[in-house]
Amino acid sequence: MNVYSIVRTLSIVSVLSGLGTVFAQDFVEMLRTIDQRSNFAADFAATFTMERIDPEAGEDNRTVQVFRRDEDDAFLLLIQKPETQLGQGYLRIEDGLWFYDPESRQFTFTSLSEAFEGSDARNDDFGRSSLADDYQIVETREGTLGRFEVWIIELEALNDEVPYPFKTLSITKEGALLLKSEDYSLTKRLLRTSFFPSYARVGDNLIADQRIFVDALVENKRTSFTISNISTTDLPDSVFTKAYVERVNR
């Protein structure tokens, strides 16, 4: 066996061992783990502070009280600031998402795919995570993101209810934390990049308490969310009703 043969054999072994590492991973299970850790078995409440930076429209801030009941796929977002929008709410119940305007005391139907308050976040970003159910894995590879070794997983939507038909996720090899998501249109044009640089451990759950959504179509436009005042205390059923939204606005 000459040197060339040794080098070739070692190369093949090296490549195969790399592939072996990839194949050894159960990526569907990885997505399911991310979903499970993000979704709360109990009720969840927190304050979301939004900061939108738009080179055209200027800076815009919101403070939003969020209530979630992932078991029913329900959530309620109540805007606390600015005062001009105090009490406006988004109520997700059963299969519908309703917007409430306290000034006219009217609800209208809206969509999970729509941008939240003109920001780079979609209404869908506030609900439960369902990556494993909504997407199938198309391709996986290894990579790095900053100082982290990551799996890069390309996903394709299994239904047309999700806001983005294609996604490319960057998930840490250690701990399987979702750090980055590139969200694409049907024509595979990058629409936004979402970053999750910080997580808060809440019991068995891990929730991204820093979320940055960067618009891929408008330069330097982005929206950041900081999550605080997290509570997992049980909420009464009445919170996830139109009557509650109307009542707190009186």
Partner: protein, 480 residues
């Protein structure tokens, strides 16, 4: 007279060449007359339609550098007029202003029974002054006109028809619908309005078909025109963030990706989660003087440009701009004028080609008549005689066939006027302002035809004349 006889004889002797050149001139002139007449009919019709139906002769709008659109669709609305009261006081005493009416524009989705039915281009108006200025332009099909101070909407018939076809929902006057719109000041707003009437503008197509009228209070609420305005302009842009800033060795969020978090053990005061909601009232009171536009109708004898200048120099500050109907019509007017300019370029190219062909043919003709011209010079013919002889020949051909071309163009326009030029597709309908165009003869195009014919004649004769003048009797005899 002798010159014309010689010119006529020469043209008759070269019948084929004369016919080729003449046909080219006649077709070019006919094209010019027809093309300019059609385009003038398009732009005149467009002006007439926009001025009398939608824009008035002048539009005063809030000043902004952002892209805005009067009709709606692309671009937003301008900011409200800062000195609305001062401007209207000025207009009341300014000569040449026959009438004016204020207006707001916006967009909203139309909802009913938990369904989003359609999308509306909304014009918020002061019904009395609007109707006085645009009397009968929005023809009611059902219901009644909005009244001053009354809440309600007059929906366009195209919108009603679309809702009926797509959702099977038959909206009728007296029904209530929800309008939902988003703005940067008060976020998403919902307003319930009563359908007062259904109507349509005559010959409106495209976006114009979708214009609906709504009471101004509703539109001020939907567009966030509150007394307290938040100025977000001029705020500093944040520096871009990189992946290294977030996930690098010196991440802005620290070394640890996961932090232990203490959950909020305090019981949330769910019934008082919003605090004192009465504070929002002071932020939501509407600005009753907020208008995006003032539409002006001028008295006869006053030009748009002079009144525009007069308003701009009226000492009313710089928070507004004065525009004409073309600005109001937006891209569609620019398109029509662009097509007209392209047509003129094509005509110019045809004219240049005609000049070159006529010039070449005449040079050949002059060369063939070397002996004749030499003989004329030998028996005492002066240079100016030869020059006039050639020029007369060229002018005869251009004038005769130019007139034939004009007659042909007039005949074509007459036929098109009777038969109508059908608009194929929405784009042409928008351009024609309706399903067909009945073009009128453009007097301007006849004048420009005469000028072009004269210019072609004179320019085309220059080189042949110089060739002819270069012939000496000696050269002519040597050739012979």
């Amino acid at each position: 007279m002798i010159l014309l006889t010689i010119a006529f004889r020469n043209l008759r002797e070269h019948k084929v060449k004369t016919l080729i050149i003449g046909s080219l001139i006649a077709i070019g002139i006919a094209f010019l007359v027809v093309g300019n007449s059609v385009m003038e009919s398009v732009t005149d019709g467009m002006r007439q339609s926009y001025v009398s139906n939608f824009t008035g002769e002048l539009i005063i709008r809030g000043a902004t550098e952002e892209e805005i659109s009067f009709i709606g669709g692309f671009g937003g609305a301008p900011p409200p007029l800062e000195n609305y009261t001062r401007i209207t006081e000025y207009l009341d005493r300014e000569p040449g202003i026959a009438a004016y009416t204020p207006m707001l524009t916006g967009t909203a989705s139309i909802n009913k029974d938990d369904q989003t039915l359609s999308f509306a281009l909304l014009w918020g108006i002061q019904p009395s002054s609007y109707r006085a200025m645009f009397e009968g332009r929005f023809e009611l099909v059902e219901g009644e006109y909005l009244k001053d101070g009354e809440e309600g909407i007059m929906l366009s018939k195209a919108t009603i028809d679309e809702i009926s076809e797509e959702y099977g929902v038959a909206l009728e006057p007296g029904d209530t619908i929800l309008l939902s719109g988003r703005n940067n000041i008060t976020g998403t707003k919902i307003r319930e309005v009563t359908l007062r009437g259904v109507g349509t503008f005559a010959n409106s197509v495209g976006l114009l078909d979708r214009i609906s009228f709504v009471d101004v209070t509703t539109l001020r609420s939907l567009t966030g025109l509150t007394s307290v305005q938040i100025d977000r302009s001029g705020q500093t842009e944040a520096a871009p963030i990189s992946e290294d800033d977030l996930f690098g060795d010196s991440s802005m969020f620290g070394d640890a990706l996961v932090r232990e978090t203490e959950t909020n053990a305090e019981t949330l005061d769910l019934e008082n989660i919003l605090g004192d909601v009465s504070v929002r009232e002071q932020f939501l009171s509407l600005d009753n003087n907020a208008w995006n536009y003032l539409l002006l109708e001028l008295e006869d004898g006053f030009s748009e440009a002079s009144v525009q200048r007069s308003i701009e120099r009226g000492g009313l500050g710089d928070g507004f701009s004065v525009e004409n109907w073309r600005w109001g019509a937006g891209f569609i007017a620019n398109l029509a004028f662009g097509v007209r300019n392209i047509l003129n370029i094509v005509i110019l190219v045809i004219a240049v080609v005609a000049v070159i062909i006529i010039m070449n043919t005449l040079v050949i003709s002059v060369t063939e008549r070397f002996a004749e011209i030499g003989t004329i010079r030998a028996i005492g013919g002066q240079k100016f005689f030869v020059r006039r002889m050639i020029t007369a020949e060229v002018l005869m051909i251009t004038i005769v066939f130019g007139v034939i071309g004009m007659a042909l163009g007039c005949a074509i326009i007459a036929v098109l006027n009777v038969a109508g030029l059908p608009a194929s597709g929405l784009f042409m309908q928008i351009l024609f302002g309706g399903p067909e165009l009945k073009p009128l003869l453009s007097v301007g195009s006849l004048f420009s035809s005469i000028v072009i014919v004269a210019v072609i004649g004179v320019v085309a004769s220059l080189y042949p004349v110089s060739v002819a003048l270069g012939i000496t009797p000696v050269q002519a005899m040597q050739r012979q």
